[in-house]
């Protein structure tokens, strides 16, 4: 191992990272992270409005990662592409929730189009789109059904920032950055 822990610490410190994680996502991990961030926000005496929005965005992004791995057996059998990463940070103006995961190249365009469509909508447009998808009768076997990203955008109040980095002829690394706050 060549990593210098102090450099790593300073990097997290200077970017105001509260928590970072790389590895598998289990249901227990989601619960623990939610608990840590909740007590952190309690300690900071964040207004309940911000607390709830951050909590909601965290639930949706972490559960997206959880289901992504569970529903893509092609990824989970290969250890090098089954890990995810996420960071939770707080700058002066807003909270940041950022996630990264590998995905299959063939699914990139569909996801890109979905996020762009969401980013093109204003508050009212997002509300209408949410209601339409809520009532479209399509449900995945775990109960989702395309609402997650719309809800994240509604709670965020900012445009979703993203990046796709092609790794090889099969895989792309997808990163998502969500800002929450005024």
């Amino acid at each position: 191992m060549t990593i210098k822990l102090l450099d790593f610490y300073n990097l997290m410190d200077q970017d105001d990272i509260i928590l970072s994680y790389k590895g598998d996502v289990s249901s227990d991990l989601v619960s623990s992270v939610l608990q840590i961030i909740e007590s952190k926000m309690d300690k900071l005496e964040e207004p309940s409005k911000i607390r709830k929005k951050v909590y909601n965005v965290l639930v949706e992004t972490l559960q997206n990662l959880y289901h992504h791995i569970a529903e893509n057996p092609g990824l989970s059998v290969k250890e090098e592409v089954s890990s995810v990463i996420f960071l939770i940070g707080k700058s002066e103006d807003y909270y940041i929730v950022s996630t990264g995961n590998f995905m299959e190249n063939e699914k990139v365009n569909q996801l890109k189009e979905r996020i762009n469509k969401i980013n093109d909508l204003d508050t009212l447009g997002l509300k209408e789109y949410y209601k339409k998808v809520l009532n479209n009768g399509i449900v995945s076997d775990k109960g989702g059904g395309g609402l997650g990203m719309i809800d994240i955008a509604r709670k965020s109040g900012h445009k979703l920032e993203y990046n796709f980095n092609k790794i090889d002829d099969q895989h792309t690394f997808f990163s998502l950055l969500v800002k929450i706050g005024e």
Binding site: S27, V30, S31, Q35, S48, K49, K52, K53, Y55, N56, V59, E60, Q63, Y66, H67, K127, Y130, K131, L134, N135, V139, D141, K142, G143, G144, G145, L147, G148, I150, D151, R154, K155
Partner: protein, 127 residues
């Protein structure tokens, strides 16, 4: 018909369905990874109730958080209530939200726009 009682956990709400009184309460957090599995006993119980419902059915939704995976299940619960209403039970939904929680109020209004049952929005003092 037996009543339904499910104790709450950090990720799932308390559910109390008293069929003799026609009263249903959902309270707490609803953020399970698998919502369909969690809501199945309630959906089954509503199915059992809707054939011979009480004169009135009062539903109290008192959620602090719910994830999008729960939101479609909650819609399914409301669709069962629409059937209960059309089977002659006077049905009412009380949607609770904490003071200043505009997102939760709005979530209730989103359902209200889709579901053909009277909603009453009730603001609670922050706990």
């Amino acid at each position: 018909m037996e009543n339904l009682k499910i104790d709450g956990t950090p990720k799932t709400p308390t559910i109390e369905f008293n069929l003799e009184e026609g009263k249903l309460l959902i309270r707490g957090r609803s953020i399970p990874e698998n919502s369909i599995e969690f809501y199945k006993p309630l959906i089954d119980k509503l199915e059992e109730y809707l054939g011979t419902p009480q004169e009135t059915t009062l539903v109290k939704i008192q959620l602090e958080y719910f994830n999008t995976s729960s939101s479609k299940c909650i819609l399914d619960v409301f669709k069962k209530l629409e059937k209960i209403k059309s089977n002659g039970s006077e049905t009412l939904i009380h949607w609770y939200y904490e003071e200043d929680d505009e997102d939760m109020l709005e979530a209730g209004e989103d359902y209200q726009a889709i579901i053909n049952i009277p909603f009453k929005m009730i603001e609670m003092e922050e706990q």
